[in-house]
Symmetry: C2
Subunit: 238 residues, 2 copies
């Protein structure tokens, strides 16, 4: 291993949100190792130390692409995290030094948010990672300060989508029902929505276009599918 | 000098906005040196490499405090900049290596925005720095990628103040006139404001409280002073 230095390393970490139709998930990576002769197995955000001559956005896109195979993803830098306390758990340091084959003093990480459609072939991840979609309400204790990063990412997404709801349609499948959009609203903004008021608002969204297709093989009454029209949306919002 | 490494260094840079009543200024530091036997003199943002065991926010507060002597300042992290191109100018590398007595490969910087009242004893800066208030429209070519950082900071402030105008009152003096608030609006949002419409809106701002004081020694009709009431503001906005 190269000699230890006091200089901080720099990484990117990606909080990748996906929506199942019922729950908001994030994509996490299984991590296992041995610390003080005890085996452990926990989860972390997908991330990487930045490469020499690599810009921050490029590093985040690289992580996403390596993991998902997808290139065209909604991705935003949202906050950087640099507390020396980030690496206070010796288990994290040991894991990191094994992963990047370098001695690490501390590591500053640049946080990115991605919004993607879970459906889109996104159940087959690169063999390089053991990746899982996890319900945002049930992620347990993550490595490093990744719980703090997820909290802050969620705050960012809420503010961002209040201002410009286009991100909601990055999360929804290409064709979606009114109930799915309503669920997503309730989860993102953390408030119960009145069904009738929501329906009125839904009908007034000119960029949500009804399709000539309905749900199939459902126990309840089959709901109509809609699609998001980006051109109409941009005419209204830009 | 310690040996060169390929690991990036991490710094903070502060875009400190102040308002003269007529113009939006930022606080810049004079930098001079010799590059290829030519003397140069230019300007940069106040900033610093982060210290060992120092969190990012702490580093930004330290820079502000060292420079201005003020501790209680509106300060927000807004974006990080890590392009390898940031340090493509050899003059910047030479200056930086002299300043921090280390060999530098590249440097990732975390950008902060501060909003302060210029009046507030803020003409006497620490002797350690040669600091100047400069009109945002006339800053010329700054060191490193600092012009890009300033642009991005201004975009951030615009969006932030559209959402929550409290920052406008961080920039205004403790007592201010309607014309000063209107000027600031025009500069921040980059649009000409209709005086009569603005006046109506101004009168409806319950948190802008008239004082029993008027301008003195002015050529035109003396305007009334107002103050910002944070308690009323918080009742409305939180």
């Amino acid at each position: 291993m190269p000699e230890s230095t006091l200089y901080p390393h720099v990484s990117v970490d990606c909080v990748i949100f996906g929506f199942t139709g019922e729950k908001l998930n994030i994509l996490l990576i299984s991590r296992s190792g041995i610390n003080e002769e005890e085996c452990y197995n926990d989860m972390k955000l997908p991330g990487s130390v930045i490469y020499e001559n690599e810009d921050l956005d490029d590093a985040a896109y690289r992580v996403l692409h390596e993991l998902t195979g997808i290139k065209n993803i909604y991705l935003q830098q949202f906050h950087s995290f640099g507390s020396p306390e980030r690496t206070k758990n010796p288990q994290d340091i040991v894991w990191l030094e094994n992963a990047i084959h370098m001695k690490i003093g501390r590591i500053v990480t640049i946080g990115y948010v991605a919004l993607i459609k879970i459906g889109q072939k996104l159940q087959n991840f690169s063999d390089k990672y053991e990746a899982h979609w996890c319900d945002i309400n049930n992620i347990g204790q993550l490595a490093f300060d990744h719980n703090i990063i997820v909290e802050k990412a969620l705050d960012y997404v809420r503010l961002k989508l209040e201002d410009d709801p286009i991100g909601l349609y990055e999360l929804l499948p290409k064709r979606f029902t009114e109930a799915e959009l309503r669920n997503l609203h309730e989860i993102i903004f953390g408030t119960k929505v009145d069904i009738r008021n929501f329906h009125k608002k839904f009908l007034s969204l000119h960029y949500v276009v009804p399709l000539d297709e309905k749900q199939e093989n459902v126990a309840h009454r089959a709901a109509r599918y809609y699609r998001f029209d980006k051109i109409i949306y941009n005419q209204i919002h830009r």
